[in-house]
């Protein structure tokens, strides 16, 4: 039997026992149902009328607009400051590269309320940085910039690692060929590396954006008001109960699903 094996696949004849296969499938199904079940339960509550009401609710509208705007600004900042870093991490072997890489991934393991408290101490009016920002008229804590700061903190690692992988996937010799064909380093980057890494970078940016939209823990400490969507849902749940929170939750879920679909479509197919 000459079966082509790719890494990570189990040879088919390795699982000939039907009971073993059935057992594995059953265990897997439990987890899949556990993830899908609650989301389906929430989606089943959606009626055209209920959704229309949700989208017409002015407070929810404002909150979603604020969330989308803040997430977009945070993603743009992550792109502006993160892309050069991702390129350096992918291409150059410099002293402290591993340290920088570890530092930029740190937010992933920090509980988000902890991140919120750290940001509050760093950007609060009484801190050096927060004070300086306030002096130039940029109020962070309890204002929209606080939301952006919290979103940037939790989503930057996603963008940087996505872009780093995308850059690393482009063979540097393609750039070298472009150089011998007359390109300056910048032109070679723009004509070869960026187009080839583009899909991966875009996927990373969308994931970072989605992470920002779903952020709660750090924002709730830094800027409770004005309320982003996740905080509005929490606020309605605690003050008015479950039925009041559901329409907002549904709208946010639909936005998240749309983004998820977009990212799956952008990501290159896994090799079979």
């Amino acid at each position: 039997m000459t079966e082509q094996l790719s890494p990570g696949t189990v040879p088919r004849h390795g699982l000939r026992l039907p009971w073993a296969r059935l057992g594995l499938a059953a265990l897997g199904a439990v987890l899949v149902l556990f993830v899908v079940g609650p989301l389906l339960r929430l989606l089943f509550l959606a009626t055209p009328q209920g959704l229309a009401d949700g989208f017409r609710d002015p407070e929810l509208q404002a909150s979603i607009a604020l969330t989308v705007a803040a997430a977009s600004v945070a993603t743009m900042l992550a792109v502006v400051f993160g892309l050069p870093l991702a390129y350096l991490l992918a291409r150059r072997r410099f002293r402290g590269r591993r340290l920088v890489q570890a530092l930029i991934e740190l937010p992933v393991v920090i509980p988000h309320p902890v991140a919120g408290i750290a940001l509050l101490l760093f950007l609060g009016r009484r801190s050096a940085v927060g004070g300086a920002l306030a002096d130039i008229g940029l109020e962070v804590v309890s204002h929209a910039p606080g939301i952006v700061a919290a979103m940037l903190f939790v989503s930057a690692p996603i963008l940087v690692s996505g872009a780093r992988e995308a850059f690393a996937g482009v063979d540097p010799r393609l750039e070298r060929v472009a150089r011998t064909l007359g390109d300056t380093p910048w032109l070679a980057f723009r004509r070869v590396t960026l187009p080839l890494a583009g899909r991966g970078i875009l996927a990373g940016a969308i994931l970072a954006w989605a992470r920002s939209v779903s952020e709660f823990g750090a924002i709730v400490i830094l800027t409770y008001n004005p309320k982003v969507a996740s905080i509005l849902i929490y606020d309605r749940f605690t003050t008015q109960g479950l039925p009041a929170a559901v329409p907002a939750a549904l709208v946010l879920l639909l936005v998240a699903l749309a983004v998820f679909g977009l990212v799956r479509w952008l990501q290159p197919e896994e090799p079979r």
Binding site: R173, R176, V177, T180, G182, T184
Partner: protein, 353 residues
């Protein structure tokens, strides 16, 4: 002209030192060396991708050592070609023209001319996935030649194609080289390629040039056991040279002894040495032949390797030797595994290093 003067380059584990080599204008030079001897590193240094620690690089009398790759006027073809996957065949070839002085019409004309020259005209509007190895190689070559570089650098350009395509591409490349008069430097691990293509060859070993010269000269007169073994000149034996005459003048008649074997040789100096016995200089017969050759010794055939018109006979004469005979005389002599045979070699045919 490509002139490397005492070049030193270090990239990662590769440490190239004291590389001096010159390919005259319009010439075809080859650098050969085993895998991992730093050939690609050297070529990339000439292209300007690797920083030079010492020495100078001159291209057509211009010192380009401190110039970036885009200002050196070179074309570069890698072993794995590195076509731009997001572009069509046409766009790949046009890449180096797009920002040059030519208008769109002239660019398309140049692309069509090269495509015609390399027989890839019907591929122009295809993407690059699905091209065969030979097609990919032609596209890479067309892309490198499009901006009319004065220097062409080739990194093992035939390593990734099948033997038939390789022979064809070699002939075409040689013809192209003669037509465009482009000074070419190629690296390869295949000495056969040097014999077929090059005007000049340098053998790279341990980050230095072990020998350079015309390919047939290097092949006939390797200057070290390493070079002889690497380019496959023949059997290399280590042993000792002992003078036979009282005369002080070199060269002198001498004995070369390697284990149980002793040959009469013409030597320049005494002491430890290596003898290179070219396969085609070993004559095989059933009995000792009445010739002027001084060296006859018995051997047993260990293995017979038929390669078309030529047959390689591996012999045990106390030392392992390889002889090359025509397949016809191999038949006539009845050479087969286990057969006892007489080996004859002229003293002047043994090259001492």
């Amino acid at each position: 002209m490509i002139r490397l003067e005492g070049l030193a380059v270090r990239v990662g584990e590769f440490d190239l030192r004291d590389i001096s080599f010159e390919v005259p204008a319009g010439g075809y030079g080859l650098i050969i060396g085993p895998t991992g001897s730093g050939k690609t590193t050297l070529l990339e240094a000439v292209a300007g991708h690797n920083p030079v620690r010492a020495g100078r690089i001159r291209l057509h009398d211009e010192d380009v050592t401190d110039l970036p790759p885009e200002r050196r006027g070179i074309g570069f073809v890698y072993q794995r070609y590195y076509l731009f996957p997001q572009l069509s065949v046409r766009e790949n070839i046009r890449y180096g023209l797009a920002r040059g002085p030519l208008g769109m019409g002239a660019q398309q004309e140049r692309v069509a001319e090269l495509a015609d020259l390399l027989s890839i005209s019907d591929l122009l509007d295809r993407g690059i996935s699905g091209l065969s190895g030979g097609e990919t190689q032609r596209v890479a070559l067309a892309r490198a030649l499009a901006p009319r570089p004065s220097i062409l650098l080739l990194d093992e350009p035939f390593a990734a194609v099948d033997p038939t395509t390789r022979h064809m591409l070699r002939r075409e490349l040689r013809a192209l080289h003669e037509r465009e008069h482009i000074t070419t430097l190629q690296v390869t691990h295949d000495f056969d390629e040097a014999l077929r293509l090059g005007d000049l060859v340098a053998v790279l070993a341990d980050g230095r040039i072990a020998q350079q010269g015309r390919p047939d000269e290097v092949f006939r007169y390797p200057n070290s056991a390493f070079v002889a073994r690497f380019i496959g000149t023949g059997t290399v034996l280590s042993g000792t040279v002992k003078r036979l005459t009282a005369s002080d003048h070199a060269p002198f008649a001498a004995h070369f002894t390697s284990g149980p074997l002793t040959f009469e040789v013409i030597a320049e100096r005494e002491g430890p040495a290596h003898a290179v016995l070219r396969s085609e200089d070993l004559l095989l017969s059933r009995e000792v032949q009445p010739t002027s050759a001084r060296n006859h010794f018995p051997a047993v055939v260990r293995q017979v390797e038929r390669l078309g018109p030529l047959t390689y006979v591996h012999l045990d004469a106390g030392r392992l030797l390889t002889a090359a005979v025509t397949s016809a005389s191999c038949e006539a002599l009845g050479i087969a595994q286990g057969v006892h045979i007489v080996v004859t070699v002229k003293a002047t045919a043994i090259h001492l290093v």
